[in-house]
């Protein structure tokens, strides 16, 4: 298409491209900003800009189908009496019932359980379906406190205090009226059908000194059994990680700007926060300087798609990764078989991001009973488990090639960067050189 325009001598503006022209015209027509789901769509320095150095003379590899490469990870052992051990270092990120259908939440729980990992609640409380199908369930403790109650807190295998998310560090959530059904409204104590705004700050504490007391409160309520995570959107990862550690967190969860959202202003998604590639290094540096790297675990998320991304995140110092958007895609989000319906919604398979509208043809980001029924939670769970297995096998393949008998043995020394930007952000040398910009 573009080539045919070029052959006619037509030149598209790089600054005012067609999507930008559409944005301006849509704003002029409606008078309100664009709200959408998904995460940042702009091109960003990412894990694709890193490569592994496979073993050769100076390193020897492990046999691909013979020699063991461990994948387990234990989270929360710093202070919690009952840390959780996962078979694989790939967890399912927090996504709310409300943003997602109950079937989708159940499928995520089923898949995570089959693969031996955890799933996470979201800004809408814990559903029985999710708890029932999740061996390891992380309960998010959010500013809105929708559905928050101590019984569910005690049922959780871990508690994640959410300070922010990568798609919108500094922003609260929103759930538009189309998705505030009677059940969703009841769980959130809200009128049915309103456009719901979630707070961006916790109502009863501000700052790290208060956070330390809040963490202590949660520990007291759960008799010190339950691991406590602190989740931040990637913006100032060095300081946020250090302050989370100082406040007593067992685990730090760091979400880059590619991390997904159910509904956020596009201007926020694309312009606030930093890519996960740039965030891991400073977070790891903070943990190392405090002497707690691997004692306080680091879970990173935001654009994890394949086993190479998993391996690269771990090599940079993460203990585990979390997937959200990729998990929804595995469930069937943006599946071409719904192409006609995406077109009818003004979108297309591969582009659909109007999660806020609740009209998802795949039955995932919806509360419409007919659409939601399209997703079989058992079959969906199988798809999630399959996908998690592939991610794990791919990460193991790379780790063995680097001579590692456990994914956690991967290290920055195994990596090089393809671009100067990625080298500087990730803190690994530009390929073929020993140069790390800024060091």
């Amino acid at each position: 298409m573009t080539n045919s325009y070029a052959s006619r001598g037509l030149r598209e503006s790089a600054t005012f491209d067609r999507a930008t022209i559409n944005d301006i015209q849509r704003a002029a027509t409606t008078g309100i900003y664009d709200i959408r789901g998904w995460g940042a769509k702009r091109a960003l320095p990412h894990f694709d800009d890193l490569l592994f150095l496979g073993a050769s003379v100076s390193r020897y590899p492990l046999e691909g189908y013979r020699e063991k490469c461990g994948t387990d990870v234990t989270l929360g052992g710093r202070h919690a009496l009952k840390p959780i051990t996962l078979d694989i270092p790939i967890t399912i990120a927090g996504m709310s019932f409300g943003a997602l259908s109950a079937n989708a939440k159940e499928a995520l729980g089923r898949g995570a359980t089959e693969a031996g990992t955890s799933t996470t609640t979201g800004d809408g409380g814990m559903t029985p379906e999710e708890r029932g199908q999740s061996r390891h369930l992380v309960y998010q403790y959010l500013p809105s406190r929708y559905g928050m109650n101590p019984d569910d807190l005690r049922k959780a295998d871990a508690i994640e205090i959410v300070l922010g998310q990568g798609a919108k560090p500094g922003g609260g959530g929103m759930l538009l009226g189309q998705k505030i059904t009677e059940r969703v409204a009841g769980m959130r104590t809200l009128p049915v059908g309103i456009d719901q705004r979630s707070a961006c700050r916790h109502p009863d504490w501000t700052g790290p000194d208060d956070l330390a007391i809040k963490i202590a409160e949660l520990r007291e309520i759960t008799d010190w059994h339950t691991p406590i995570y602190v989740k931040v959107g990637a913006s100032r990862p060095y300081y946020d990680t250090a302050l989370a550690v100082k406040s007593g967190a067992d685990v730090v969860v760091l979400d880059g700007m590619q991390g997904g959202t159910a509904a956020t202003q596009q201007v926020f998604i694309e312009n606030v926060g930093i890519p996960i590639l740039a965030a891991i290094g400073p977070a790891v540096a903070a943990l190392q300087e405090l002497g707690v790297h691997r004692t306080v675990q680091l879970i990173v998320s935001g654009g994890i798609r394949n086993g190479a991304d998993v391996a690269k995140a771990i090599a940079l110092g993460a203990d585990a990764v979390s997937i959200g958007t990729a998990a929804l895609i595995a469930l069937g989000d943006n599946d071409p078989r719904y192409q006609a319906e995406y077109e009818a919604l003004g979108s297309s398979a591969g582009f659909y991001d109007d999660f806020q509208d609740g009209k998802d043809p795949a039955g995932i980001s919806t509360q419409d009973p007919e659409l939601a029924a399209r997703l079989d939670p058992i079959a969906g769970g199988k798809r999630i488990a399959n996908y998690l297995r592939v991610l794990t096998l791919e990460a193991q393949t790379i780790a063995r090639a680097c001579g590692k008998s456990h994914l956690h043995h991967l290290e920055p020394e195994d990596l090089v960067a393809l671009t100067v930007e990625a080298a500087a952000m990730a803190g690994v040398p530009l390929a073929g050189t020993s140069w790390i910009p800024g060091r």
Partner: protein, 238 residues
């Protein structure tokens, strides 16, 4: 932990006394979590410590003699708790049921996000009293600070004194009753008529709090419901 059993005021129960100068808050909380319904407890020398009596889910009676710090009776689920003193930030935050009574003042975010139950503060509270409340009833004998009942979703907030700036900003369906002056109302919060059913529920709440104020002297505030749906014309209020 040092626990002494003192004679109860009646002959039918015993009181467990704990001195936080000797025992730790962790010991106290674990004992409260493990105890039976119907027990009575007295805590001395709280010395402003944080997280005292959090997560109680037993139908018990607890009296604290002295000041308490942050999150006293946080996520309280059952029983009757009284503080003869003042309370720090987040008193009875996310209370589910039962009663929490403070005879002195409370700091900011009192009863924040409370889902049910009754919180009574005989004195004043700081800012954000009843922030994001979701069904709790709050009765304050004195004044409340700014940004109280911010994004209040459900429940009743009764203020026998004055309210600070921005009362009920972005309020949903909670009802606010104020006897004194209101420095200013927040976005989408308006005064509403005090009808007989409101006088009746106000009288009931005041009685539960042991107060003798005349319900007819209060004014009622609640949501104008103009911000329930996003609209570009409301941009200044967002």
């Amino acid at each position: 932990m040092t626990i002494t059993h003192a004679p109860a005021p009646t002959n039918t129960a015993r009181i467990t006394a704990i001195d936080l100068a000797v025992s730790t808050v962790r010991d106290l909380n674990q004992a409260l979590h493990a105890t039976d319904d119907g027990t009575s407890w007295v805590v001395d020398t709280p010395a402003g410590q944080h997280n005292i009596a959090v997560g109680i889910d037993r139908d018990l009676d607890l009296v604290v003699n002295g000041h308490v710090g942050y999150y006293f009776a946080g996520m309280h689920q059952k029983g009757r708790v009284t503080v003869h003193g003042s309370a720090g930030v987040g008193l009875a935050e996310n209370i589910m049921s039962g009663t929490v009574h403070v005879t002195g003042d409370a700091s900011q975010a009192a009863a924040a996000t409370g889902q049910g139950g009754l919180v009574v503060v005989d004195g004043n509270t700081g800012a954000r009293c009843g922030i994001s409340m979701k069904g709790v009833d709050i009765v304050v004998g004195g004044d409340i600070g700014h940004a109280s009942a911010f994004m209040a979703q459900a429940g009743r907030l009764v203020v026998c004194g004055d309210a600070g700036e921005g009362l009920g900003d972005s309020i949903y369906e909670a009802r606010i009753y104020v006897k004194g002056t209101v420095a200013s109302l927040g976005a989408d919060c308006i005064e509403k008529p005090l009808r007989p059913e409101h006088l009746a529920e106000l009288a009931e709440l005041l009685a539960l709090a042991g107060r003798t104020d005349d319900p007819a002297e209060f004014r009622r505030y609640g949501s104008a419901r103009t911000l329930y749906h996003f609209a570009a014309v409301n941009a200044a209020a967002y």
